[in-house]
């Protein structure tokens, strides 16, 4: 494990992200990581709020495209996240909580999507379990965002 982390730290990608003075290196990567957070957590939050009863006038069928937006945010952050990790591969407790909560959050989103639109459904009927998923999703993203932000201070 330690050898693997050392190898990552000595890789060309890691050195470039960590040591380049270019604004396109670390600064742009972490800024895009923050943008991706806004897209993924923001899009997830709006569907969660809708499922929990906010803005009921928006038909759930019209929000199906939001899951595509979430995946774009997710992949942007997966790529930039790998680069940030390569630059500074510290496997702290916070890091594992963050990774775990993201994996859990993505699983919950996939379950929510299947509940809403699976089997050719159009989101017309809202099963009670959807609200549980929405609540879990909100809590999970708060944990992921909080642990991610606090990694800069611990």
């Amino acid at each position: 494990m330690t050898e693997l982390l050392a190898a990552i730290q000595d890789s060309a990608l890691s050195i470039w992200v960590r040591e380049s003075s270019s604004l396109l290196a670390y600064p742009m990567i972490i800024t895009m990581h923050t943008f991706g957070l806004g897209v993924l957590v923001g899009a997830s939050t709006v569907i969660d709020l809708r499922v929990l009863g906010v803005a009921r006038q928006i038909p759930l069928a019209s929000l199906k495209g939001i899951f595509v937006v979430m995946w774009m945010g997710f992949w942007l952050n997966a790529v930039t996240g790998v680069m940030l990790f390569a630059a500074d591969p510290r496997t702290t407790g916070l890091f594992f909580i963050k990774m775990g909560s993201i994996a859990f959050g993505i699983a919950v989103i996939m379950l929510l999507r299947r509940t809403l639109y699976g089997d050719g459904g159009d989101g017309g009927t809202l099963l009670p379990v959807a609200k549980t998923y929405a609540l879990l999703s909100l809590v999970t993203w708060v944990v992921a965002t909080t642990t991610g932000r606090l990694m800069a201070y611990l």
């Binding site: 604004l23 670390y26 600064p27 972490i30 800024t31 923050t34 943008f35 957070l37 806004g38 897209v39 957590v41 923001g42 899009a43 997830s44 939050t45 709006v46 709020l49 906010v54 803005a55 009921r56 006038q57 928006i58 038909p59 019209s62 929000l63 495209g65 939001i66 937006v69 993203w141 708060v142 965002t145 909080t146 991610g148 932000r149 606090l150 800069a152 201070y153």
Partner: protein, 179 residues
């Protein structure tokens, strides 16, 4: 009170105005509290990021609707999300003010902060333009009706300016000298 007198004196005679303002803000109870604890700043940062996600998530769908997406859904349906966007904005206004009051020196001389403020003003004027001149037009649109160009522009300006606010907010630490 003494700091307030110093600030007023500096504002009146025009010399060392910035230094007086910085000293005045740093002497406030908010700044004193934040620098005296280890956790206040990181907690405010965390809330600032949660607020940004809430704001982005709830204003984004309205902006996309104004751009002409989901045109079969009335604009009024998306306006029900606006109070949540305002909540996200207020969280960030309060926490942002905490940052500014606690460390005014690292923002006031930072080009990235002024650019962030510029795009905040553009975003705010864009909201005013919508509310004062386009609101009834937007709410009266029939489902499926083509969205007027001016509404598309408002939606586009909103998306771009909020992105810029985030961009220069995050670049504060790199374009300028913050943190």
């Amino acid at each position: 009170m003494e700091q307030l007198n110093d600030l007023l004196a500096a504002l009146l005679d025009g010399t060392s105005r910035d230094e007086a303002l910085i000293l005045y803000l740093q002497s406030s109870w908010v700044a004193q509290y934040v620098v005296s604890t280890r956790w206040a700043w990181p907690i405010a940062e965390t809330l600032h990021f949660l607020g940004l996600a809430l704001l982005f998530g709830t204003i984004g769908p309205l902006d996309f609707r104004l751009l002409g997406f989901m045109s079969h859904v009335p604009v009024s349906a998306f306006r029900a999300l606006v109070p949540w966007a305002v909540a996200g904005f207020m969280i960030n206004l309060v926490t942002g003010t905490v940052f500014l009051v606690t460390a005014p020196d690292q923002y006031m001389s930072n080009i990235s902060w002024w650019l962030k403020a510029l795009f905040l003003v553009i975003a705010g004027l864009n909201v005013l333009l919508f509310e004062l001149t386009q609101r009834s037009k937007a709410l009266e649109m029939k489902p499926g009706e083509d969205t007027p160009v001016v509404l598309k522009m408002i939606g586009g300006v909103s998306l771009v300016s909020w992105f810029m606010v985030l961009f220069f907010g995050r670049m504060l630490a790199f374009l300028g000298n913050a943190f």
